[in-house]
């Protein structure tokens, strides 16, 4: 009787497992229904590939910062599905960015064999994905592509630099070039002009730090410093402002830039929470009028205008001994495991230079990579886009090494916090940052 019961239990478990497997397939089907397209499930895509790529179905992972962007991406996908002449169907699957957790989810899925055909991507993840053979080499696709010249050669070089090889694994999509947001009314109150040099910028930070009622409590801080992860991008502008560089952060010039950064904190020109302030904090501080300036990209411009109307503007990070600003980036990649690479390239090229490029960059306020889209009036007449475009000539990225993620996530914020609070000197901080990035 016991044996019989045991066998029955095993049978039930087996049936349960089969049922679960079946549910995964039907769930994928449900996902298709959500996109509003009549498509087979993603698990069918390999079958489609076997019979040729026309009419192929490809899965596309992406993140969206808000529901508006999310809806826009679904619209772009729908439009592509309806208009492409090869019968390609894109199935969009949205995942949260989760402070970079998206890349980890994507990596885990791809390593486990369950990743998509195409995904939105950040350059910093390139070495990790390339080292594990997960990304398709796009060299031949790009060489044969009619729109190749619509994207600046410099961008292709950045893509190659990211992979650490002469191959392109990442397809440009849009960039976010950091610039300085400022409040014209506070500049006027402090009798400060828009800075044209790095030195003037530092002076402007000092002068726009205001104690309006002389109660000993700072009402407006000159600059919204970001000490949490992500802060390495605006910080890099200070290092380059004194002629330093990421290649050698132990030079006198780099250390001088670091000293400027620390000095802002020590002198009380930035909020005392700067050591741990992240994106949300610097934006909240700027929007509440607690800071006069902060550094971010066009992704925030709509909400800034919504809050301040005309009392917010932007300027490109001004030149000192050197000049640099961070080029944030979002690209697309095709996975090596995809059996529909040609169809996948049709989709990523639609996003890079086609209608998808125009619609997405207009909706998100990101800087387009397509020259013909950049030339549209929409981009030429926008003050924030102008600051972005002004910075494009000296925008760059952090060295992308296999240590970069850890350096960004833990080494940089903790080392900078130690230095800001005086636990270590700027020299010691820069030595640590250099050693940890290039170890």
């Amino acid at each position: 009787m016991k044996k019989l019961f045991g066998l029955l239990l095993l049978l039930i478990l087996s049936v349960g497992l089969v049922a679960c497997s079946s549910k995964e397939v039907s769930n994928s089907g449900d996902g298709d229904a959500d996109t509003g397209t009549d498509t087979p499930s993603s698990s069918d895509s390999s079958d489609t590939a076997d019979s040729g790529e026309d009419g192929a179905t490809i899965t596309y992972w992406y993140w969206a910062d808000n529901t508006e962007y999310s809806n826009k991406m679904q619209e772009i996908i729908k439009e592509f599905n309806e208009t492409n002449d090869k019968g390609i169907t894109v199935v969009g699957e949205e995942y949260p960015w989760d402070g970079g957790g998206y890349s980890e989810t994507l990596f885990t899925a791809a390593m486990g064999g369950g990743g998509p055909d195409v995904s939105s991507f950040k350059l910093t993840s390139t070495p990790q994905f390339v080292a594990n053979g997960l990304l398709a080499n796009l060299d031949n696709f790009i060489a044969d592509w009619d729109d190749k010249g619509d994207i600046n050669d410099n961008l292709y070089n950045v893509m190659k630099q990211a992979s650490g090889s002469e191959n392109i694994y990442v397809m440009p999509w849009n960039t976010q070039i950091l610039y300085v947001y400022y409040r014209p009314s506070i500049f006027e109150e402090a009798d400060v002009e828009v800075p044209t040099t790095y030195e003037e910028f530092l002076t402007a930070i000092e002068k726009t730090t205001l104690d309006r009622n002389d109660d000993g409590r700072t009402d407006v801080y000159g600059f919204g410093m970001r000490g949490a992860k992500g802060g390495q991008e605006p910080w890099g502008s200070f290092i380059h402002g004194r002629g330093g560089s990421f290649e050698d952060m132990t030079t006198e010039e780099s250390i001088a830039g670091m000293k400027d950064f620390v000095n802002l904190y020590e002198q009380g020109y930035v909020p005392p929470t700067a050591t741990t302030d992240g994106f949300n904090e610097i934006i909240a501080n700027f929007k509440s009028g607690r800071t006069a300036m902060t550094i971010h990209h066009t992704g925030s411009s709509a909400e800034m205008v919504e809050t301040f109307g005309d009392d917010v503007s932007a300027f490109a990070f001004p030149p000192g001994e050197g000049q640099w600003t961070s080029m944030g980036d979002t690209e697309n990649v095709i996975f090596e495991s995809s059996k529909n690479k040609e169809a996948a390239f049709e989709w990523v090229s639609y996003l890079a230079t086609g209608k998808g490029q125009e619609e997405w960059t207009i909706a998100t306020g990101n800087v387009p990579v397509s020259k013909k889209v950049q030339a549209l009036d929409h981009f030429q007449n926008d003050r924030f886009m102008k600051a972005s475009i002004d910075g494009a000539s000296y925008a760059g990225i952090l060295p992308i090494l296999d240590t970069t993620t850890e350096w960004i996530n833990t080494i940089w914020p903790n080392t900078i916090a130690s230095s800001l609070m005086g636990d270590i000197t700027p020299e010691e901080a820069m030595n640590t940052l250099q050693e940890e990035l290039y170890k």
Binding site: K2, K3, F5, G6, L9, L10, L13, E104, F107, M111, P127, Q128, A131, N132, G216, R217, G227, A228, K229, P271, P272, T273, A274, T275, T276, D277, E281, A284, N285, S288, R290, D402, T403, T405, E406, N409, T410, P413, N414, T415, A417, S418, M421, D423
Partner: protein
């Protein structure tokens, strides 16, 4: 035969991952450098022992557990004694006091992060309006206050657990013992130390052991409040393991996880022995 499904599940969910972690701890298993993956013997453990961040994390873990669990127990005990007294609305108070324990750790982390916020936090606002401070304090942004702040949070979360467990123990103590003590003229403190605490010995032992293990392993509150910063001042061993694992240095993080497991075994073995004896 009947226990085989349970055994299978335990094997897959517990034993295999543990063995996998042990094997990984002896390998240079860093997915950022997949070509270098391979057996390195005690290499990870030697690197860990020479890592100043590891020792800082061990120190932080000890403070986190001793201060966190100790004060949870202290306040939980007092709360249990209060809740054991008959008063109007006792049921409601008992239910409300459970809220911190029933709240997810991630939510607690976010909630307290905002309470402590150095620009807009309610705690700063309250202290400023009451003229206790003349400048807002960046509680989570400076090393001197960040760790005490997160410890207060874990204490807040854990008090109800101790309170409920001890309350259940209190209700199992025979009233006749207290009556006999009253007849003998025992004071309240004598009753507490001669009857109440000895009767709760088993409950206190089990509760403390369990909570020490849970708090040592807890990541959610610290990670959501500070991520281990600023300047690694709130990085406990479990947070350090998590941080290393998320940058895919799985060999190194497994090595630290094994060390943490061994340290916790010192606490867990008496618990397991007691459980087996009772079983």
């Amino acid at each position: 035969m009947l226990v085989s499904p349970a055994l299978l599940i335990v094997t897959f969910v517990v034993f295999i991952p543990v063995i996998e972690a042990i094997l990984m701890s002896f390998q240079n298993y860093d997915l950022r450098r997949p070509n270098d993956i391979g057996f390195i013997g005690l290499g990870n453990f030697i690197a860990i022992i020479n890592d100043p961040q590891f020792w800082q994390a061990v120190k932080n873990t000890l403070i986190w557990v001793i201060a966190g669990v100790g004060l949870q127990f202290f306040f939980g005990f007092i709360l249990a004694l209060l809740l054991n007294q008959p008063f109007r609305g006792r049921g409601v108070v008992r239910a409300v006091s459970l809220i911190p324990w029933a709240t997810p750790g991630v939510l607690i982390g976010l909630m307290w992060k905002w309470i402590y916020d150095g620009n807009y936090g309610v705690l700063n606002d309250l202290m400023y309006k009451l003229h206790f401070i003349d400048q807002f304090i960046p509680f989570l942004s400076q090393t001197s206050t960040a760790f005490p702040s997160v410890i207060v949070t874990i204490i807040w979360q854990g008090i109800p657990f101790f309170a409920i467990m001890i309350l259940a123990g209190l209700q199992g103590i025979s009233q006749e013992m207290y009556e006999a003590a009253d007849i003998d003229g025992a004071s309240r403190m004598q009753k507490l130390f001669r009857i109440t605490i000895p009767s709760l010995k088993n409950v206190i032992f089990i509760t403390l052991l369990l909570r020490i293990i849970w708090v040592s392993n807890s990541v959610d509150i610290i990670y959501n409040m500070t991520g281990g910063g600023p300047s690694y001042s709130t990085q406990t061993l479990s947070v350090y393991i998590f941080n290393k694992a998320t940058v895919l240095n799985l060999g190194y993080s497994s090595g630290m996880a094994i060390i943490l497991m061994l340290l916790l075994s010192i606490v867990a073995i008496p618990y397991l022995r007691k459980s087996f004896k009772e079983g």
